[in-house]
């Protein structure tokens, strides 16, 4: 097997292109928003009903994405859902009494967690719990309530 | 059966039985091959001459019997031991079996590169001397596809002896060659045998060439050894079978006709 420079160059170019392509896909198509976990903090919030919320759903304030849902689990004692929100560390002055609510993008779209700012001068930090929450609005339940009201 | 007299055997087969797809190839073959000589194994096509070489090198396993090379039993030894044995055996395939993606030089260098850590200058020296001895030093940078059949076989020969083996096996070295190339191969087999003092085994059905080069010949037919001797002795042999083979008679114990039913009957009946 004699190696020549042209062959080495061609193969090297191929490998390089492949690595560049992976790099392109990771950085350019995704915006890297979900990559680093180092500069972010986690807060939790309790909901009576999370509807169809899934892990990795967006967490927004004023419609701008600040982070995502990193964990959802069920509390066996209090019988409600504990949702963990991972928020980018850049947003370190969100008021501690902000309200978390589960909303739906569009009428039938995906569900996400929206934060509405409160007035507390203290900011949310790692490990805090959001007290005021508003559960998911479940379409069937609203229709059900509407029908019962009609019946009265 | 006479044995080649007064010679220490390099290869010994005893009571060898082998069958393929239920068809027996060898019933009971015993023979010995003397060290340092050129021995031919002859017989018509399809008698398993090549199979015999594959048995000797452990590529096939016999059903019964023993095969000893250099006193070492070949049947049933592990892959490692087999590979150690094969490093001391050169093998020339019928068509050379050169590696098509390597040029002539690299083909000859192949066993050295795989089995030794020799520096490039030493490999170069070895390859060039072997190529010189088969007269193809000038073709070192040609690819196998650019070689004629005879040249490919000469390269194969250079490759077979590059590791300085004690034993070289030739599988049909004369088949399909023009007279000049045949003459060249005959000369090379003789020269290599004498120069390197090794044992050569030639499997062939070319009586003329074998007579020129072999010290001893065995004739195989119907799964047995039917004769053995020097080429001159075999020529004088009176058994009808050996006569037919040695004198190229078209009919004899090996019939001209493939077994068939009655001829007039076959002509009358038109297949629908």
């Amino acid at each position: 097997m004699r190696h020549n420079k042209a062959m080495d160059f061609g193969t090297g170019l191929f490998v390089l292109l492949g690595i560049l392509a992976i790099f392109f896909l990771v950085t350019q198509t995704t915006g890297m928003r979900t990559l680093g976990t180092e500069d972010s903090f986690e807060v939790s919030a309790r909901f009576d009903d999370i509807g169809g919320l899934r892990v990795r759903a967006p967490v927004t304030m004023a419609g701008v994405r600040l982070g995502r849902v990193s964990d959802i689990r069920f509390d066996d004692d209090r019988l409600d859902a504990v949702v963990t929100l991972r928020i980018s560390a850049r947003h370190d002055n969100l008021p501690a009494d902000s309200i978390a609510s589960i909303r739906t993008s569009g009428l039938l779209g995906e569900q996400f967690v929206a934060l509405d700012p409160g007035g507390d001068p203290d900011a949310l930090t790692e490990g805090d719990q959001i007290i005021h929450t508003q559960s998911a609005i479940v379409l069937e339940r609203i229709i059900g309530q509407f029908l019962t009201m009609q019946g009265d | 059966m006479t044995r080649p007299a007064g010679q220490e055997p390099h290869i010994e087969l005893e009571g060898l039985r082998f069958q393929r797809d239920g068809r027996p190839i060898f019933e009971d073959v015993s023979l010995s091959i003397p060290r340092g000589k050129v021995t031919a194994i002859m017989g018509p096509s399809g008698t398993g001459k090549t199979t015999l070489l594959r048995l000797v090198t452990g590529q096939l396993l016999p059903e019964r019997g023993s095969i000893r090379v250099d006193g070492q039993e070949v049947t049933g030894i592990g892959r490692e031991a087999l590979y150690r044995l094969r490093k001391r055996i050169g093998f020339l395939f019928q068509h050379g079996a050169l590696l098509t993606d390597l040029d002539v030089y690299e083909n000859v260098a192949f066993p050295l590169r795989e089995h030794t850590q020799l520096p490039d200058c030493l490999i170069h020296h070895l390859v060039m001397t072997k190529l010189q001895s088969v007269g193809l030093r000038g073709a070192a940078r040609l690819m196998p596809s650019q070689l004629s059949g005879g040249m490919a076989r000469r390269v194969g020969l250079a490759r077979a002896v590059v590791m300085d083996p004690e034993l070289v096996l030739y599988d049909e070295p004369f088949a399909g060659l023009d007279p000049i190339s045949m003459g060249v191969i005959v000369r090379l087999i003789r020269e290599i045998n004498e120069a390197l003092g090794l044992t050569s085994v030639i499997v062939s059905h070319d009586i003329e060439e074998v007579s020129q080069v072999a010290d001893w010949a065995w004739i195989i037919a119907d799964g047995r050894i039917i004769a053995g001797g020097t080429p001159e002795e075999l020529r004088g042999e009176e058994s009808p079978w050996v006569r037919q083979f040695m004198h190229r008679l078209s009919d004899g114990p090996v019939p001209f006709h493939f077994p068939a039913r009655d001829y007039p009957e076959d002509l009358r009946e038109v297949p629908r």
Partner: protein, 260 residues
Amino acid sequence: MRAMFRDLGEALREFVETLGAMTRFLGRLLWETPAALMRFGLVWYQLHRIGAHSLLIIGISAVFVGMVLALQGYHILNQFGATESLGVMVAMTLVRELGPVLTAVLFAGRAGTSLASEIGLMRATDQLSGMEMMAVDPVKRVIMPRFLAGVIAVPLLAAIFSALGIFGGYVVGVGLLGVDAGPFWSQMNAAVDVRTDVMSGVWKSIAFGITASLVAVYEGYNAPPTAEGVSRATTRAIVITAVAVLAINLLITAIIVGEG
């Protein structure tokens, strides 16, 4: 009727047998992998032959596929007034599905067939037995470098396919159909996730690379040493790879979607 069931049973038995034999062969190849990586020169040479030489066909196909995706996607999205999602659609389709799958199938056509026929011909011309006789294991010397080069090449080719496909989609969507470049990228950035989307594509292409390379070298190595045997092995290499890749793709997608 009975004959049909017998044929079916026979085909099934043969399928299971081939699957078993291939798995055993894969086990052997994986066992040999560390030693084969030590002789990286041989792998590098094969990477040149089967990887770099597949680059052109992969690149051209990718741009065309990206362009078609953009054209079709634009007309569907236009009905919902959502043409700015074109970038998401093109990127998601390529990264998650078409990139790995089409790359594997094209690779089987370009490199898999040539591997199978090359190895089959080496068997038919006694080159493999020749190596055996020189005490060189053909699996180590011939099969391993080709297998590993295929396993390395396919993920790289798949990434190149996806990237060039997105480029093709961009050219048609933004350049030709007038979709705004801003949302094309920003919506893509917002929707495509590194772990679930890009990495799932990478995992898929690794699985497909192993599949395509394994099938090609297996079929070549086990081809009957005749002209017909080699040509059948070549055909089988691409047919089996295509079916296997599509089936494995379904399996992996089901697992990923099921988890997400």
